[in-house]
């Protein structure tokens, strides 16, 4: 069991380090390539949407209704859009969720 989490830590460390070291490798050579710039701009929003679907689908499959997830998600999104404070958005959204389930 412990070997699994050490494996996760190892690949997580390498994967994170790779993204932070990549600017050095890219520097001057590929950084200006239009495809990389395009992906640098549009991959993050697309990936975030996928992660939201991934994480919420996980909840819905564990017997929580779609309605509860939608209401709590909307709370988080609206709070973040207006107040721009991640901690408030996450905390309030989780509170709404905990009260609804």
């Amino acid at each position: 069991m412990d070997s699994y989490i050490w494996g996760v830590i190892l690949v997580g460390t390498l994967a994170t380090f790779a993204t932070r070291a990549l600017p050095f490798v890219l520097l001057g050579r590929f950084a200006q390539h239009p495809l990389l710039r395009f992906l640098g701009r549009y991959l993050p929003p697309v990936l975030m949407v996928l992660l939201v679907v991934y994480a919420t689908a996980d909840l819905i499959s564990s017997s929580v209704t779609l309605g509860v997830v939608l209401v709590s998600s909307l709370c988080v999104a609206l709070l973040q859009w207006t107040l721009k404070n991640p901690l408030i958005s996450i905390f309030a959204g989780s509170l709404v969720y905990a009260l609804l389930i």
Partner: protein, 226 residues
């Protein structure tokens, strides 16, 4: 030291509570010791990647999925660091440490330093290291708390989706790509429906394909003068 602490104080206010949220979530959702949360803060040191790992580990995701998901999740940082890294003069372990630990927050603190102080790169790695200490501290306190207090797992389960919704909103604010994001939501739903076990790998592959097609057609439109 005093000055360093006061410079980095705003980061402490961000890292300690968020780290604590990670720690609490870690020990209450997973069956590992609090110490593993500390290890993740020391070695991985990336907020959203650590939160995502909790979800991945709860599902016993394969290490390949973990590697790909974390790499792409952090890939958004690749372009941020470019300007600072080009002026990085430090050598030896300090250089490697800076590459390893440079976060958005450390980056913005360092670039906001007054010009005469910014030339002193000792300050750069000291700031970076103090910021990571805040994160490690927060994660550890949270993990110890989560282990000691019996928090119902179900009520904390929304923290991870909430974090991604926050990041999603901020991405939308910056990029305004509603069409692509809706398409991604469709791809995500399809992948959950048809390949739930491999949802992340399948949907990321499909989304990359969609982006490449968009890029090519955009180039085609640009070169055909439309």
């Amino acid at each position: 030291m005093r000055r360093l602490l006061s410079t980095t104080l705003p980061v402490a206010f961000g890292y300690v509570p968020l780290g604590m949220a990670f720690g609490v979530l870690f020990t209450s959702q997973l069956d590992y010791s609090w110490f593993m949360a500390t290890a993740m803060a020391v070695f991985i040191f990336a907020g959203s990647a650590q939160f995502l790992s909790i979800g991945l580990m709860a599902n016993q995701a394969s290490l390949v999925s973990v590697a790909i998901a974390i790499f792409l999740l952090n890939a958004r940082h690749i372009f941020y660091g470019l300007s600072l890294l080009s002026e990085l003069k430090l050598r030896g372990w300090r250089r490697w440490y800076m590459i390893f630990a440079l976060t958005d927050e450390s980056y913005s603190l360092i670039t906001a330093l007054p010009q005469e102080k910014r030339a002193d790169q000792t300050l750069h790695w000291q700031i970076t290291m103090i910021n990571q200490s805040y994160w490690v501290l927060g994660c550890t306190i949270g993990a110890l708390f989560g282990e000691g207090v019996d928090i119902p797992t179900e009520s904390l389960a929304f923290v991870l989706p909430a974090l991604f919704i926050v990041l999603c909103v901020e991405q939308y604010r910056a990029v305004r790509s509603a069409g692509l994001m809706l398409a991604a939501a469709g791809i995500g739903a399809l992948a959950v429906w048809l390949w739930s076990g491999q949802m992340l790998l399948v949907s990321i592959t499909l989304a990359l394909g969609l982006l490449l097609v968009t890029y090519r057609s955009g180039r085609w439109i640009a070169t055909s003068g439309v």
